[in-house]
């Protein structure tokens, strides 16, 4: 039976990991507060209305988190120009031959669960695969929809120029009602994305055993030796130092 040597590869840089978890957390907060704003629970109180402000606080959390979400996204766009190959914008533009090949492979093997007679090790993606790349492009577009409709709704009560720049969105789409409906509905698309995304992360971790889940914490994934160039020279230098950490025998 074949036994493979795996090497630790730094895939997700620190800013990318920070982006991922800030993004995940802010989406959770935004979705929860958003649903509360859409349909507030009936909380009764004997106190004077002037002593209570919980709904105002929920809205404040929603707006404050929206800024975090937005600037986090801006940071990630910047990082897609200076980060490594896995975080580059090029990784999200799956329209070359190699990525198209990978796209079909993932659809066949991971979506329709076909078994290949001769699995090619190069078909296993190191960063995210081409289907995932497309899903992140879609998520980015959904995020833009939320940013535009959200700041559009916020603009008329805002005093800062940034949200005011989105004031045109409301008349453009025809009024607050439709903008609100779009904002609300898109939240559900985020939820659907999250379900699929989390499932697929577990799926890959379970079937490939390369640290898919933990990679978003530590940044490393495990990649077969064969994928690395100039292995011989590197090994002399690195192997004795990192023996324990780098070589996991399958």
């Amino acid at each position: 039976m074949q036994t493979r040597k795996f090497r630790r590869v730094y895939v997700w840089e620190l800013p990318v990991r920070f982006f991922h978890w800030i993004n995940a957390l802010s989406i959770i907060i935004l979705a929860i507060t958003g649903f509360i704003i859409a349909n507030p629970p009936a909380i009764l109180s004997n106190r004077e209305a002037s002593d209570i402000y919980w709904f105002g606080t929920v809205r404040f959390i929603h707006f404050a988190t929206a800024y975090v979400f937005f600037f986090n996204m801006v940071m990630r766009i910047y990082w897609s120009f200076v980060g490594n190959r896995f975080s580059s914008w090029r990784a999200f533009w799956p329209f070359n031959k190699k990525m198209w090949h990978n796209f079909l492979h993932v659809i066949k093997v991971d979506v329709f669960l076909a078994n290949e007679k001769k699995p090619d090790i190069k078909d296993i993606s190191i960063g995210h695969n081409s289907v995932a790349a497309i899903s992140y492009v879609i998520l980015f577009l959904l995020a833009l929809v939320q940013v535009f409709t959200g700041f559009g709704l916020y603009s008329s009560t805002a005093s800062w120029w940034l949200p005011k720049m989105f004031a045109w969105v409301v008349p453009f789409l025809g009024g607050d009602f439709i903008v609100r409906t779009i904002h609300h509905t898109t939240t559900w698309l985020f939820i659907l994305f999250t379900l699929i995304h989390v499932y697929l992360v577990f799926y890959h971790d379970w079937l490939e055993g390369r640290g898919e889940v933990s990679s978003m914490f530590g940044g490393y994934k495990f990649v077969c030796d064969e994928r690395l160039k100039q292995l011989a020279e590197d090994e002399e230098i690195e192997a004795p130092v990192d023996e324990e950490a780098m070589e996991i025998i399958e």
Partner: protein, 374 residues
């Protein structure tokens, strides 16, 4: 001047002639300046303009509408508004208020259009039906579209009164059988002020006219062509029930204790948070009340498509194409359930399909575990 006087009169002359005192006039100038959102120092300018400006000829067209805009206007707070600014004196043509009728009325309109070409203001109340060659609305044997294009030709500016002329209102609601069309979609080459509302507030209407008289130009408009002075804030933002909203105290139904206590009507479908108008500040019927103050949520009558935005008493409404009963949340829950079910099936199928691969990997892992140093 003396010769012209029979034809051309200043607003002030008309007001005095109608029997108002100078004191009444000054009170009106103060009152209207306040509604227009002007500083007190501007009252003098308003008074001076009304004294020195010859009245602007106005043609007021009624197309597919219910005349509620006119009704709102003539019930405006101050009698000078209805008596002078637009009623007896200034209106050269309006079907409902003018004394003349039939051929006389049409002749008066023609005369005004020729004499004051490029000077008169065209006020339009109602939408224009474009379906079936415009036959759904004909006046004096001519279609509304024909009349509008003719009247707009020589107009200095057009005021689209009410939701009909601004957005199409109820006639344009789905399925819009007459193809009712708002003014700005027909006339493209003239400045158009949109004053939505079903009806718009009388004081808002008067304020816009006085603004044009005082400053000789259109009031500042927003992206939708609405005067910013009256349409830049949501009803919600000036609502006296707003503190209940921020406190999270809501009426759950119209007959519960919360409704009696005057809590926020957000959860029973109030459209205040999505409606740009000044009902909360100017109010209605001489500042007596407005819908929310009377215990009924705002229906968003000054917003586009407000008839098609679902039931007035529900906040979460149906999505187009998904049937009237399904709200975004129902669809979302079903979709999330379907996706979760699909993923569960996929997980099971993956373990079955890839069982050999998984089994060999597990056994290798176990072997490696045994080889570990103690």
């Amino acid at each position: 001047m003396a010769l012209e006087k029979s034809v051309k009169e200043t607003y002030y002359e008309s007001i005095i002639k109608q029997g108002y005192s100078r004191r009444d006039f000054m009170k009106f100038a103060t009152y209207i300046a306040a509604y227009m959102g002007l500083e007190t120092s501007m009252i003098g300018q308003v008074a001076k303009s009304l004294e020195n400006t010859f009245r602007i000829p106005v043609i007021w067209e009624h197309y597919q509408e219910c005349t509620c805009c006119s009704e709102s206007f003539i019930r405006s707070d101050h009698p000078i508004v209805s008596d002078i600014i637009l009623d007896k004196i200034s209106l050269d043509y309006t079907l409902t208020l003018m004394a003349a009728s039939g051929h006389q009325a049409e002749a008066a309109k023609q005369a005004t259009m020729e004499k004051y070409k490029g000077e008169y203001i065209l006020c339009v109340e109602g939408s224009v039906p474009l379906g079936d060659d415009g036959n759904y609305c004909c006046i004096a044997g001519r279609s509304a579209k024909e009349l509008l294009i003719e009247a707009a030709e020589g107009a200095k500016a057009i005021i689209a009164w009410g939701s009909c002329a601004s957005n199409g209102c109820v006639q344009a609601a789905y399925p819009n059988p007459t193809q009712a069309t708002p003014i700005h979609k027909i006339i493209k080459n003239k400045p158009i002020i949109r004053v939505p509302g079903c009806p718009p507030i009388g004081e808002v209407m008067a304020g816009i006219i006085v603004h044009m008289i005082t400053f000789g130009r259109l009031p500042e408009l927003d992206g939708l062509g609405r005067p910013k002075a009256f349409y830049s804030k949501r009803v919600h933002d000036s609502c006296y029930r707003r503190p209940y909203y921020d406190a999270g105290l809501f009426a759950e139904t119209f007959d519960d204790q919360n409704a009696k206590d005057g809590y926020c009507l957000y959860k029973v479908g109030c459209r205040g948070p999505m409606t740009y108008n000044s009902c909360g500040t100017i109010k209605w019927n001489n500042g007596v009340s407005y819908p929310i103050q009377s215990g009924h949520g705002c229906i968003g009558c000054s917003e586009e498509n407000f008839w098609d935005n679902g039931p007035f008493y529900e906040r979460l409404t149906g999505l187009a194409g998904f049937g009237i009963e399904s709200s975004a949340d129902t669809i979302g829950k079903v979709a999330a359930g379907v996706v979760a079910g699909g993923l569960a099936v996929h997980a099971v199928a993956a373990n079955i399909s890839k069982r050999k691969e998984l089994k060999s990997r597990t056994s290798r892992g176990i072997q490696n575990e045994k080889k570990l140093e103690s």
